[in-house]
């Protein structure tokens, strides 16, 4: 795995890990009466494990110069595996949380398993664990191919990938211990935030350094999206997490913002996390893997440029639509609403660009579940962005806000768009990375596709029903002018939809497990299984073949 590191890189790795171990030790001592102490120990153990790993390969022969004639894909491979582990874990927790809403006793009387702690474990695991690792892994791959340049060194990609996962582990374990700064999607506390910032700056530097070595004069549009994702997340992360810790021995900190400014900063961050993490990054994936898998150039390169700048500059202003009918000034709400509506144009331009790229290759979409994952992702992207603009209208929001409709909207995006484009990209990249002719079982890709689609549709329809009923019940008055239904009445009405949602989530989880198994078997099984499984499964040649001949 890290045997490719040169002697100097192994020494730097040891230095970094020793520094990290020292940080862990300091936090462990300073925070011995605080949950921070446990995180100090965790950081220390992680650093020690890294030190042992590096020492175990320290005296191995150095890699020769012939490595420079190939792209550096080891971190990408590891990142894909990590992404799938996080996917299964995060989807499992998500479904557990869904069943908690059906039957609240499923906490088994454990504090760490309460809804308020498990929910951020779910969101962080799927968004940052699964999505983030998939973005980092694919971005290394796409960056090198589109620039025709190898990553600038071998240490920093590992630093970013493993450092990022340390952040995710700190976040998730922290929530279970009750460590949170109570900002949605920005729950981790100050020390984890500072660590992520260091990791993120190195990530951006890798991008710039590789681009500086590129052969192609024009930077391919996928890289623009990946770069917007990295740069803007850095800005959002810094501003939203400005906080002062109680002491260096305490996990607790206080935000620099208060009241409505805090709310506005949080939702400026929160909605742009949707925009630049869950949209721009995955559009980068889409603009590379859809053309490559379909064997056709993107339908309109010009349209991809216009939608890039549209998405980048409109999204920045849309966050205030999360705060309709609050203390936020009316004009700021209207600004957010207006920009959310304008966003529909670049969003649909991107979705249309992907679908029009597939126009003329529908036979491939029919035969190849991998490409179908990406096609469905583009469709869900179009549906979700339309719904998002619609929900941002203040009067619509008065019905939808605080209801399950929002939850349904988020999952149309997360399950339908983000997860589908990621699975499609992973199924494309895995056989190439591990030099296989195709996935271990194309039939299991097909199974995964149908589980994922069924799960997403069941989930979203359940939440649409639930949310609209909930919203209507909350605003129904009787003749005397008081509310017709109590909150508990609305909860009882939700119950059947909560069961349906949990089943939808279960289907999606099963699909994810099937996918993880298939990927693992592809990695484990040498190509020699090819003739055997070609007999077992007559139709499958499709998956891999469609892409191995991009010239057709």
């Amino acid at each position: 795995m890290i045997g490719q590191l040169t002697k100097a890189e192994r020494q730097y790795a040891l230095l970094i890990l020793l520094g990290l171990a020292l940080c862990g030790l300091i936090f462990g001592i300073a925070g011995k009466d605080d949950p921070l102490g446990i995180h100090g120990a965790l950081i220390g153990v992680a650093a020690l494990a890294g030190i042992f790993k590096v020492i175990s390969v320290y005296y191995d022969p150095e890699p020769g110069d012939e490595r420079l004639t190939r792209y550096y894909d080891d971190p990408t491979k590891f990142g894909i595996v990590l992404a799938m582990i996080w996917a299964v874990f995060g989807l499992f927790i998500g479904d557990w949380v869904a069943w908690l809403l059906v039957k609240p006793d499923f906490t088994f009387n454990a504090g760490w398993a309460s809804f308020g702690r498990l929910r951020p474990v779910h969101t962080t695991s799927v968004l940052f664990g699964f999505g983030g690792n998939a973005l980092i892994a694919t971005s290394y791959y796409v960056l090198q191919r589109t620039s025709r340049a190898r990553l600038p060194d071998q240490l920093s990609p590992w630093f970013v990938l493993l450092g990022y996962n340390l952040f995710c582990v700190l976040a998730v374990t922290g929530y279970m211990m009750g460590i949170t700064q109570s900002k949605e999607y920005a729950e981790p506390e100050w020390y984890a935030d500072i660590w992520l910032l260091v990791v993120w700056v190195v990530y951006f530097a890798i991008y710039l350094r590789t681009l500086a070595r590129r052969k192609e004069p024009h930077i391919y549009v996928a890289n623009w999206y990946y770069m917007a994702f990295i740069l803007v997340i850095a800005i959002l992360h810094i501003v939203n997490n400005l906080a002062v810790p109680v002491s260096f021995g305490s996990a607790k900190s206080y935000s620099l913002f208060s009241g409505v400014q805090d709310a506005m900063t949080e939702w400026w961050y929160g909605h742009n996390a949707v925009a630049f993490f869950l949209t721009a990054g995955f559009l980068g994936m889409m603009y590379y893997f859809v053309p490559v898998r379909a064997g056709r150039p993107i339908y309109s390169y010009r349209m991809s440029i216009i939608s890039f700048w549209g998405i980048t500059f409109f999204y920045m202003w849309a966050g205030s639509h999360h705060l309709h009918y609050t203390a936020l000034p009316q004009w700021v709400q209207t600004l957010g609403m207006t920009f959310s509506l304008m966003l529909l144009i670049p969003s649909w331009a991107s979705a249309a660009n992907a679908l029009l790229t597939l126009n003329g290759a529908w036979d491939k979409v029919r035969d190849d579940a991998t490409l179908r994952f990406m096609m469905v992702a583009a469709v869900f992207y179009g549906i979700t962005t339309f719904e998002g603009s619609f929900l941002a209208i203040r009067s619509v929001n008065s019905l939808s806000h605080y209801t399950d409709w929002t939850v349904g909207h988020v999952h149309a995006g997360a399950l339908g768009w983000v997860a589908m484009i990621t699975f499609g990209s992973i199924y494309t990249i895995v056989p190439w990375l591990w030099k296989r002719d195709r996935m271990y079982s194309p039939r299991l890709v097909e199974v995964h596709f149908w589980f994922a689609l069924a799960g997403a549709v069941v989930y979203v329809f359940a939440m649409w029903n639930s949310g609209i009923i909930q919203g209507l019940m909350w605003r129904t008055y009787n003749e005397s002018g008081t509310l017709a239904y109590s909150f508990v009445d609305s909860l009882i009405a939700m119950h059947p939809y909560y069961i349906a949602r949990a089943i939808g989530g279960l289907l999606f989880l099963i699909g994810g497990i099937v996918g993880a198994y298939n990927i693992w078997m592809t990695i484990k099984t040498e190509s020699k299984i090819l003739p055997q499984s070609a007999v077992d499964a007559p139709e499958p040649a499709l998956g891999g073949e469609a892409v191995l001949q991009p010239g057709e």
Binding site: L68, H218, I306, G310, P550
Partner: protein, 56 residues
């Protein structure tokens, strides 16, 4: 230190408006500038090449 509500509204309604219009025009002009067409076509096709290894 505190810029005040009216100042911010004035700024966003004047500078904010014009910089977005200017940005939109710049983007469309760049995308449709005739001499850029070749570079865009090349870029769109470049990802479909077979993987041959890095240039450096």
């Amino acid at each position: 230190m505190d810029p005040g509500h009216d100042t911010l509204v004035w700024f966003s309604k004047s500078f904010g408006l014009f910089y977005l219009i200017a940005l939109s025009i710049t983007t469309v002009v760049y995308a449709y500038w005739p001499s850029n067409q070749k570079a865009f076509d090349h870029a769109a096709k470049s990802v479909l090449h077979n993987e041959d290894g890095p240039w450096r």
